[in-house]
């Protein structure tokens, strides 16, 4: 039921009156909520001009917000690339017809999906710092932890994308004399990649959101810089709000892109979901940005 408006009949005069009353109550409720927040903040002196003017100065952006945003984007961008590589390798591994490879890839992917990203990040940070293997253990820990988790999710997307294809695609490949590996590589995976594109863009939102976990291990990203700014200027609340707004704007743009893509691509991948396909449908849902 995609059009949820069918839940109700076309409203008659009485229903229209009731909806109007409901609307007025709803607007009052929302306005009341906003007014309450504003009064609460003003009562604590949080709306004073002095708390907000730092954001009009160039040096605030130059030395705090933009460097923070840059490191956030850096970690996210590297993690996006490595996650796709990881996801493709393990996704193909899970589709392999060699049982041990399929089994091993399955165990690794399921394990990484069940372990919290933060746990991996802290472990990698302390372990890498201990063996002094890399120059910047914090950055490496953020990127590797994001890669291991999101790469596993992308591996699942590859797998469900291939499983969602009509069986005829593989059979056609076999019929013209391809091996299973060949048909996977040149027929099934390219189509699966197109079908999973919206869900993959949504996964980028997850990567960007989870890059903020680096704050906990001391990675100097947007949240960390905002905190330093807020502590320095005495406007912690405002600095955190600005950081949140920046995150929301970027993620909202990415989510909208994912939605657009899924609408645009739906004609290429249009097919009825098979029965008992709930899990796959959830996995391929472009709006699902839950980590």
């Amino acid at each position: 039921m995609s059009a949820q408006q069918v839940l109700f009949d076309a409203p008659g005069p009485r229903a229209k009156r009731r909806i109007l009353v409901g609307n007025i109550v709803g607007v009052l409720f929302v306005l009341g909520l906003i007014a309450w927040v504003i009064f609460a903040l003003a009562g604590q002196g949080q709306l004073d001009a002095a708390k907000w003017t730092p954001f009009l100065e160039a040096r605030t952006w130059q030395f705090f917000i933009l460097p923070g945003l840059l490191s956030t984007l850096q970690a996210a961008a590297v993690a996006v690339v490595t996650s796709i590589v990881f996801g493709l390798i393990f996704g193909v591994g899970r589709l392999s017809h060699v049982l041990p490879i399929r089994w091993l890839a399955g165990v690794i992917v399921e394990f990484l999906r069940a372990v919290p990203v933060l746990l991996m990040m802290i472990f990698l940070w302390l372990a890498l710092a201990r063996i002094e293997a890399v120059e910047d253990p914090i950055f490496a820990a953020v990127v590797i932890a994001l890669t291991l988790y999101n790469g596993s999710v992308i591996a699942e997307l590859v797998r469900s994308g291939v499983h969602g294809l009509p069986k005829g695609q593989r059979e056609a490949g076999m019929a013209i004399g391809m091996t299973r590996g060949q048909s996977l590589r040149s027929i099934e995976i390219p189509q699966a990649l197109v079908a999973m594109l919206p869900a993959m863009v949504s996964q980028f939102v997850v990567i960007l959101k989870d890059s903020a976990l680096g704050y906990i291990i001391g990675y100097a990203e947007l949240l960390q810089f905002s905190r330093r700014l807020g502590v320095g200027e005495g406007n912690l609340l405002q600095a955190l709000l600005i950081a949140a707004v920046i995150f929301i704007l970027i993620n909202f743009a990415l989510s909208s892109l994912a939605n657009r893509l899924s609408g645009y691509l739906s004609f290429r991948t249009a097919r009825k979901p098979k029965k008992d396909n709930t899990k796959k449908v959830v996995a391929m849902d472009a709006t699902n940005t839950l980590s």
Binding site: A40, A114, I122, L236, L290
Partner: protein, 224 residues
């Protein structure tokens, strides 16, 4: 092996997991309530409530959980003096539960809505055809089917919530990721075993929840 076992004597590993379970339990209840209310708003015929529900979901779904939790302790507690309990630790725990609930409510709302989307059009039309108005139709026809369809996505939210309860670290709650950091710092000889203890702990919690919700969603699925 002895030094490995001494870890359990020195550190309260089950206690740390118990904190995560508490966080998950309370945040699951609150986020389900809040998410259900938001879902009702989004499918109601009242435009202002629809708008509010959509705005809430878009804002909190796109904010990193770390920012929300950090805001709870640095902003709400540090700046606005919001105190949810006299006890220091309990206050942080409750602030973290609040942050987790606010964040996951957006996903619960979307999970319930996706459940509503599994109900075929004909069901709503049939309800109207036999003369049911909006609320009876929603209560008797739509929701019983929608909730069954929402079991799988709600299960996914619960699994994510369990894992995300570690982010309470950013809110100064002493839970498993916090304890793991402490243990690795003090017992550098056992870095990998310590990680595996905690990782397996989460696998043991998360995998049965996943199996259970998959089984439940199949069992409860409305056959069409």
């Amino acid at each position: 092996m002895d030094s490995f076992l001494s870890l359990f004597a020195e550190y309260d590993v089950p206690g740390a997991f118990w904190v995560n379970i508490q966080l998950t339990f309370w945040a699951a209840i609150w986020s389900f309530l809040l998410g259900a209310i938001l879902a009702l708003m989004r499918i109601s015929p009242i435009a202002s409530l629809q708008w509010f529900g959509a705005a809430y979901v878009n804002i909190f779904r796109n904010t990193p959980l770390t920012v929300i939790i950090a805001f709870g302790i640095l902003g709400l507690w540090g700046q606005l003096n919001v105190i949810l309990a006299e006890d220091f630790d309990l206050n942080f725990l409750r602030l973290a539960i609040m942050g987790l609930s606010i964040y996951h409510a957006a996903f619960v709302c979307e999970a319930i809505r996706s459940g509503v989307n599994t109900v075929p059009l004909g069901q709503a039309e049939a309800a109207r055809a036999i003369g049911l108005s909006f609320l009876p139709a929603a209560r008797l026809i739509i929701f019983p089917q929608a909730l069954r369809g929402a079991v799988a996505p709600l299960g996914n939210v619960l699994i994510a919530l369990t894992k995300n309860s570690t982010v309470a670290f950013a809110g100064s709650v002493v839970e498993s990721s916090n304890l793991m950091k402490e243990m690795i710092e003090f017992r550098g000889d056992l870095v990998i075993p310590i990680f595996l203890i905690f990782a397996m702990g989460f696998v043991i919690i998360v995998v049965p929840v996943g199996l259970l919700t998959t089984w439940l969603s199949k069992k409860l699925a409305v056959s069409r």
